[in-house]
Symmetry: D2
Subunit: 129 residues, 4 copies
């Protein structure tokens, strides 16, 4: 038996929100997911690029996600002076852009560590009117 | 030095979206966060309630989150017949409601495993007009 | 059909290591599991005790684990001055003791952040001869 | 100031266990870490190889870990018939080998889902005498 099509899911579960709200919702889910899935992963200069790519490709599978760009701060990794040459991935090293789309509406969701807030803030950087 | 107040953050980062969109965004982030933080946690009938409470209290710390209600399917846990009397928490055991609020707009975000979709669907169950 | 008993699992999979080695192995697994499952969880003074209890109860389900004691550093949480009154749980806040046991051999595995190493070191604090 | 060298850490924290026990301990930690860090990650045929590589490279950073080989079951991924063409990574899809080493002692730690146990069993597949 074939599973329900995405179009039926939209009608059944998402008819109470606008297309713009849907793009925002899916972008928010994926940003929260990315952070809490990968924070804690062992990282150094050696595996940073592989990890970035892997975070991008896994989150791009989620509904309405067009593109994910992950930048891990390499300067922070180079400054590290731990006895074991790697650290656990933390929010202050991450700079992430997620492009979500629903029926032509594009939302660019961003996560960037804000030094003044001491917080990895997630917000909508750009969105189609 | 005092960190910036929440009101300044709203003005600086969120003036491009409506109050309703903000409630939806924050609810989406927290639902994605909850799923990807806790999936995989060892669980059985013995610790299910403690784990539910802990998931609720941690996600209620996030911005604009009023209330989180987590239900882990106890019947599924009782049916388990593994050799080690516990399993890894998975999406098909979870039923979660998150109430987010921004300036009087309330969004009720829901995650529930849909057997027909074979997928833990996240959607907006109710929202203030 | 009944699943295989633990005793058969021991014979089939663990006859190549000593009882002491088994206690060390299971303690190591559970310490690695605890760290990577819960790092990143939103935490503040408000939910720290609930989170500690939940970490303990979930890891105590794992094979050969007698007791888990988790201490989250409350002083660090009180010093926090972020704009959102909570942080992501990180290794420098954690102090964990896991007691594993196999056939009367007890291992006390410890994780404690070492300031000189800048690293949350995991080691065997005590073990039966 | 230089952080302490690994050799001092060994003397200070690990002189109460044998070289073989140390290899077993570090292999166990890394297997528990791998499972609980990555379970829940969105996965399909499209990103399975990138994810495998990323899991390998991150865990190879951990102390005493020589080599990590991760195989995600591609047949299970192809059988999937969800409405969204991907799933959350779960223990029954994983087959992992970790080679840990301490001073010439090699331990081959394995995790493989055991259908009869309904459990992703972690054990020592081979070890130097």
């Amino acid at each position: 038996m074939e599973p329900p099509k995405a179009i039926d899911v939209d009608t059944k579960y998402f008819s109470n929100i606008s297309h713009r709200e849907r793009a925002i919702f899916e972008g928010g889910i994926s940003m929260g997911a990315l952070f809490h899935q990968f924070i804690g992963t062992p990282v150094s200069i050696k595996n940073a690029e592989t990890l970035e790519k892997s975070m991008e490709k896994s989150l791009e599978l989620q509904p309405c996600i067009n593109r994910v760009i992950v930048k891990i701060n390499k300067e922070k990794l180079e400054e590290l002076n731990s006895s074991f040459d790697y650290v656990s991935l933390s929010g202050d090293m991450l700079n992430v852009t997620i492009i979500s789309e629903f029926k032509g509406i594009l939302a660019q969701v961003r996560m960037q560590y804000q030094e003044d807030l001491k917080y990895p803030l997630m917000y909508i950087e750009q969105i189609t009117d």
